[in-house]
Amino acid sequence: MFYREAGDFKTSYVDDQQTFPIRFDRWGVRVLLLVAFLVVPFLINDYWEKSILIPFLVWSLAALGLNILTGYCGLVSLGTGGFMAVGAYASYKIMTAFPEVNIFFVILLSGGVTALVGILFGLPSLRIKGFYLAVATLAAQFFLIWLFNKAPWFYNYSASGQITVPERSVFGIVVTGPEAASWATYLFCLVFVVLFAFVARNLTRGRLGRSWMAIRDMDIAAEIIGVPPLQAKLSAFAVSSFYIGLAGALFFSVYLGAIEPTEAFNIDKSFLVLFMIIIGGLGSIFGSFVGAAFMVLLPVLFKNIMVGGFGWPTDMVQHFIFVLVGGLIMFFLIVEPHGLAQLWRVTKEKLRLWPFPH
């Protein structure tokens, strides 16, 4: 009743191939974008920026990236943290070596660099599948982090081994460094997220996306009907790493400002992003956002309840969240492998018929 698609007929294939074929959805998304761009920047404060909105946006990008690889192409990676580090260090190196380059392009270039590294580590995927590949990506995780720790060139020989972001601005508005305003960093990240969510949607519904899904669903048959496996898998690695690189670059330059690789990009980050897409929904753009929101909000929520309410120490809450998330992962894999995104679809179908059961 509230949510209708009846009467919403399509008279051309162009109409039928839209991103949001249902009128109601189209309006919903427009309103959401308007609020995100025009309302939120006026309301945002430091707390919302640092603990909810920026992490959500950055992790959404990372989740989109991993979802392209794992959800669409069926290749599991445990190297997300390592690839984010590549993005972060690439942005640092570009920023310090070419100070005149606009930060917007710095971030894009960092994604490009990460894509190349991703292709390199994706090469084994031609011969190996499933958890074998997962182990291979662990090599990326551990090796890359070690490299950024041990090779002084990457941190410009700084004594602490840390990298710190220089101040950069877009249209005269500072977006990195301690002077950046909350609304500026938020909008900067939001532009990337919206832009690349749109790109991800287009890529996944076209030829490339279909060849990824074909490889995921039945790789041998895919090759026999004409999907080149090399091209499909490596392009998935490249695109996925590009997104993860963007996320890493934003994570460093806009969110944290200063990092030390072993802490910022350890293997827990890889798992965090994997959990986002499992809980949000494998093979769903929308699911990547839901998963990121869920995993960002969950600790915030429980810290507020348990530390504030029960007086638990923070590390205990952390362990409790481990139990909870681990349990949820198993729950979702058993009950709804397509995650919250699928639950949402089911709810929509119910809503369409409400209040009648059939």
Binding site: D217, M218, I225, P228
Partner: protein, 280 residues
């Protein structure tokens, strides 16, 4: 070409028949002395036969005769240790299966190999992948060539959907479809490739009479309407004898018969292979 055909050790009658035919029609696929083995196991030994443009060629034989291996050789999934494959007048070098698909060979599988997570429409669109060439940049923006391409191929695919009468399941994930419909979608995916040669691996396996009749109808219609050359494996003899132009019979990886359906019907080797023969 003529010489080679007459040299083959086939029954006399068939040789003359074939010589006549090949004078009129082009040979689309020519397999010469194909041998394939896995480790010590010989799956195919010294098999030669050809497929003419525009015909329906059946490959039959008892279980384990090497029929599916034969198809796998044709579309390049297995590489025979010996023998030559001539497709469309050219000798085929070492190639990957997807390159062979691009040359114009499409197929269906014995155990349905659809992309279960994708809709019927997307499965069929994937079948057209060898015809799509838009670069990643335009795909990312969904503009220009990418968009035009999607629309053009969508139209082509919709024609196949109409032809196979599967309009109502266009957007259904194929994993949810019943077996018979899945078989039909798989045929559709192979058709979408607009291939020169269509390989069908037991298209009617596991179907009831009605579904079989439907499938026969589709195969014959495809053949008539699109003029596609078809090679098919089938167990149901009555079906084979009805729809095939020519039949090749394999047993234990060897060719034991090759010719028109009525020749095969009366071929003593074939009868022995199917009914068993008394050993002393």
């Amino acid at each position: 070409m003529e010489n080679r055909v007459t040299e083959e050790p086939t029954p006399e009658a068939a040789v003359t028949e074939r010589a006549e035919r090949s004078a009129n029609a082009d040979v689309l696929l020519d397999l010469r002395n194909i041998s394939l083995s896995f480790g010590g196991v010989k799956a195919l030994s010294n098999i030669s036969f050809d497929i003419l443009t525009g015909e329906i060629r059946a490959i039959i034989g008892p279980n384990g005769a090497g029929k599916s291996s034969m198809l796998n050789v044709i579309n390049g999934f297995y590489h025979p240790q010996e023998g030559e494959i001539w497709f469309d007048g050219k000798l085929r070098g070492p190639m990957k299966p997807y390159q062979i698909a691009r040359q114009g060979i499409a197929r269906t599988f014995q155990n349905i190999a659809l992309f279960r997570g994708m809709s019927t429409l997307d499965n069929l669109m994937t079948g057209r992948i060898t015809h799509m060439h838009a670069g990643i940049f335009w795909q990312a923006l969904w503009k220009g060539r990418a968009e035009r391409e999607e629309l053009a191929h969508r139209e082509r695919v919709e024609r196949i959907i109409d032809f196979l009468e599967i309009q109502s399941i266009r957007k259904t994930p194929v994993g949810r479809l019943p077996y018979g419909l899945q078989k039909r979608v798989e045929l559709g995916r192979a058709l979408a490739a607009d291939s020169k040669l269509l390989l069908l691996d037991e298209p009617m396996a596991g179907m009831n009479i009605e579904e079989k009749e439907d499938m026969c109808r589709f195969i014959l219609d495809v053949h008539d309407q699109f003029g596609t050359t078809i090679a098919l494996i089938e167990h149901d003899m009555s079906v084979v004898m009805d729809i095939a132009d020519r039949v090749v019979v394999l047993d234990y990886g060897k060719k034991i018969g090759d010719g028109y359906p009525d020749e095969i019907r009366s071929n003593q080797d074939v009868i022995d292979a199917y009914l068993g023969v008394a050993h002393d």
